[in-house]
Amino acid sequence: MNSNSFLALVMSALLMLVSVVGHTEVIDEEYIWSKPGLDVRFEQLAYELRCPKCQNQNVADSAAPIAKDIRVKVAEMLNEGYTNEEIIDFMVARYTEFVTYRTRINWRTIWLYLAPAMLFGVGVLGLLFRTRRATPTVTLTDEQQARFDLLLTKPKRK
């Protein structure tokens, strides 16, 4: 087998895997929308909301009954004209902060956002500190300097 056909095999295997993993519950359902564009917001919300029953699945992917309830409620609220924020607030009020993948900033979660920036700052400071520190200078005797030059000279190949 040459490397090209091997690559093709690996790629097709990966594609098959993706097509299995990529199945979502949400595409099997049909909702009636009162306005165009709601379907796009619906999909966006379904992917951002997290199913409270199943540990790491979004509401779009999950087959759990509660995920379906949330999808139906989201669709209903969209048709009634609620904004995305209002819908997420509504869900958080019932299912806690757990229900949204896009963690909102409050006093308990602010560290999730601040910590990476703070760590980066510490890294930059450390780097500045290290590079700016004066490097100690050494004075060489003539003999040492000659040997130093010799060591640094590239030997000629024969």
Binding site: P52, K53, Q55, A64, P65, I66, D69, K73, V92, A93, R94, Y95, T96, F98
Partner: protein, 175 residues
């Protein structure tokens, strides 16, 4: 000093590894979502009972005496396992209120005739609309309600003798 500096990543790795091992090996509960209703009033509702579609019960009808609100359904296998213990609690004088969740009257009635009825009152939430406001994720779940109608605790999955003795009885007694 310099050596210590090079050891830092190793030490950090060990600390993180230790933390992960601790979380993996200990019984730390990472699945239970605390109810946002804790110490807040149970949401208002107006529901018929399983026995009588004409009888409408509201939150105010239940307030005044502490109770546990058990969310159950005939399609729920764990509820079947939990049921005998609820019967026992009811006999011991615990005020058990039922919330039949996404179920049919016929099946619920048959279940109660067959396995006994521990519920002083059995609310019928056919569509699961009140369950949604409660933040129910499945059945069984049990809410511990104080006499003033506020939520003291939410227990997910079945109540049994072990968790009642170890944890839940104390919560009930405090209501």
């Amino acid at each position: 000093m310099r050596k210590l500096l090079y050891l830092t990543p190793v030490l950090l790795g060990l600390v993180l590894g230790g933390l992960f091992m601790y979380v993996l090996l200990s019984d730390l509960d990472t699945e239970t979502i605390p109810t946002p209703l804790l110490n807040q009033a149970l949401p208002e509702f107006s529901l018929p009972t399983v026995q009588d579609s004409e009888q409408i019960v509201t939150k105010a009808d239940l307030d005044g005496e502490a109770y546990i609100l058990n969310v159950w359904a005939t399609w729920c296998i764990t509820c079947r396992i939990e049921h005998p213990f609820l019967n026992k609690l009811s006999q011991e004088g615990v005020r058990v209120i039922g919330l039949d969740y996404k179920d049919t009257r016929e099946e619920a009635t048959e279940w109660l005739t067959q396995f006994g009825n521990p519920y002083r009152l059995n609310l019928f939430d056919e569509e699961g609309a009140f369950g949604f406001n409660l933040g129910v994720t499945g059945a069984p779940e049990t809410y511990f309600i104080r006499s003033d109608g506020t939520v003291a605790y939410k227990h997910i999955s079945a109540i049994n003798q072990t968790n009642w003795d170890e944890e839940l009885k104390a919560i009930y007694d405090e209501l």
